[in-house]
Amino acid sequence: MLLPVSALAGEEATPFGLVYIGSNTGGASGGHCALRLGDVAFHFQVGEQGFLKLVRQPWQEFLHCYNDIENRPIYLAKTRLPSGQVARIETHFLKLLLAQNRNFENLSALENEVRLLEGIEQGSDLALPVHRLGLFAWEAEPHECDETLLRLKKRVLDALGKDFLQHIKTKALLALQDVDSRAETLEIPRSKTQLVPSLGVFFKRLQESLSLWAMVRVLDLSIPLRDEVLVDGGEILPSFRASLEGFARELENSILALLSSKRPDKAEALLLQMARLSAIRKGLSSGRLLMLDTFPQGCQSVSYPKYRDDIEALNNLLKLLGKRLNEAQRRYSHHKSIHEPEFNYLENLATRFWELKQALSKKGPVRIWNGNTLPDRTLAVSLLSVGISVKGRPLGVKEARDGLKRYERSIKRLYGYDILNKNCVTELFSALESCLGPGRFPKSTTVGIPFLGFKKWISQMDVSKVEFYPSYRLRRLDEMYRGQNPLVVYLREFNTITSSIYHRNTVDTSFLLFSDDVLIPRPIYGCINVIYAGLNMAIGVLEAPFDKGARFSQGGWGLVYSIPELFMVNIRKGTFAWVPPN
């Protein structure tokens, strides 16, 4: 079939192709596969609870993560497909993502609902989580008022009527009393693209009404923010001040509009907007970029002993974050007003900057979270404290439990992980097959190993070129070879002790020599690495009472990753604590 060049996806149109990510220690030691579609990478990852889930990641972030920090070589098989087919594939993957998110939201909502109904059955005092309420000092004394919220309340009452807040409060309480607790019709997802209705509505309605009641209380009493939810992103640049003031005015308008909105979950958004408004006004009066902390509650953190060997790298990272904050302020200075995505970008940036700055100065833990988030602090509010009793309502506890079990079974069937039959590469190929039909792509059942899948893709598809992205260490080595004496560079960089590019860390396990850039001597390097790891294990036995077996374990894993090198196979390439992103 002949097609005009413009109808084919290639460099000129949307970049499309299969990505093979080489092996390294840590997750995906046997390699990984992804699909590049324009500026985005789609790939299947094993995440929470061991489910294999589709992930969408910006291409540059994907590269930075795998190619730089993870130090893995990447091959991209750029593939020609008619642009209509590429668009269909993109839509299909977005549908998969949409349905997947709905399915996991439903699962969580059903779990919440079962817990709630069981609580009602047992007659316990029920407390429901109210998102973003924890941003405010809920238990503050009534005389502690937030000036910004006080002014906002006046504006609301002037614009919407003096009884408006009382009216919403009464409505919320009535809704809490009237929420129907009977079991809903359960639709189980049969396929990965089926968008089933939103479930767990009883729980959601209770939560929404309670949130509305709590939101009105916050505004009515002008409850101040909690001090600990604020982060300091440094000085507000004079040129950015006007943009920030513009955003604050926009927030006030947004709050007025949301108060009149019919959106059932508007209270959460209102609490966030009110908290942001209060933080900005505080910041504007002090000249500091005060923002809300975006790290989710209960997120993991890295303790000081785990990062103390990388202080220099983390100081560089801190400088980069500070630079980005100033750049972002300058970029948005020219805007009359910024929108929520821009503001949230600043919030996330300021949070990372503040977190790292505080941790490095106090030698404390650093919280971590991947991706941007909206600020949230959840607070549980007891229904009894609002004067609501749910006793005596018709319950469907058994039906809800059965429904949850059925839903769980379906989720396991759809998203369960199986190392040979349902992994990152088989799911990718299966998704492509189900989009364009069988025969267009290599069969998902024949590509159990990432590299094998990639090889089949190259042999069966119309691949225009294979782009090779060498790992970060090899790129740096290449630069050094070109600018310095190659022998000196080699002798310095071939081992983990004298290398100027690589710094040893606990993630990479014990090893002495890099074997990813040599082929013939690899078994010899492997032998030395085996001996080195063995010695570390032996020393680890002696140190075990002091380091809880950490060195022994590192040595053991070092040995495991060294053995393939004896057979010419390299897995371990070393990873980096920090690499400046492009």
């Binding site: 995440g47 294999l52 958004a269 890295v302 995505p341 979270w369 920090w578």
Partner: protein, 164 residues
């Protein structure tokens, strides 16, 4: 950063040799055994795996502040809304369910007040078009009614997206 950008043909020996060597090696027993033992298509996020290191601090810092710039966030949000609305099409779901779905999508892209943005309605219009609806049907959709009734300019923006 990219090297070896040549057509995948006889001339591209470097890539071919590397792939060939890997191909042979990948079949070795140890690779298989270790692959089985160690593989897993995961890369750590904050919740799931080997995140207790300074490497994860870097990843957390750059992922939360670097490459996902606001323009990309908006673009991804718009695509998700189009997909959502096109999946619903003539569905008879209620307005509350629809709005909860919109909030969930918006939240994933760090947007809380999705109702307040013109690009939301333009995306809804594009989704309706993609679903194959006629324009006359749009105003009668039960899940859109409260949104449209609240502000007449919203229908205008939906039309803008519908005609794109």
């Amino acid at each position: 950063m990219v090297s070896g950008i040549e057509p995948f043909n006889e001339a591209n020996k470097e890539v071919r040799v590397k792939l060939h060597v890997k191909s042979v090696c990948s079949w070795l027993v140890f690779f298989g055994l270790l692959g089985l033992f160690l593989a897993g298509c995961s890369i750590s996020n904050s919740v799931s795996s080997s995140s207790d290191s300074s490497r994860s601090i870097s990843r957390s810092s750059t992922s939360g502040s670097g490459s996902q710039v606001p323009e990309e966030t908006k673009e991804a949000y718009v695509k998700d809304v189009i997909t959502y609305v096109s999946a619903l099409g003539r569905s008879d779901i209620g307005a509350d369910d629809f709005m909860r779905g919109m909030s969930s999508i918006a939240q994933r892209h760090s947007i809380s007040d999705w109702e307040g943005y013109r690009f939301t309605y333009v995306a809804i219009g594009r989704g309706l078009r993609q679903a194959g609806l006629a324009w006359d049907e749009v105003a009668t959709l039960p899940y859109l009614k409260p949104l449209i009734q609240a502000d007449s300019s919203r229908l205008k923006y939906i039309k803008e997206g519908f005609d794109k």
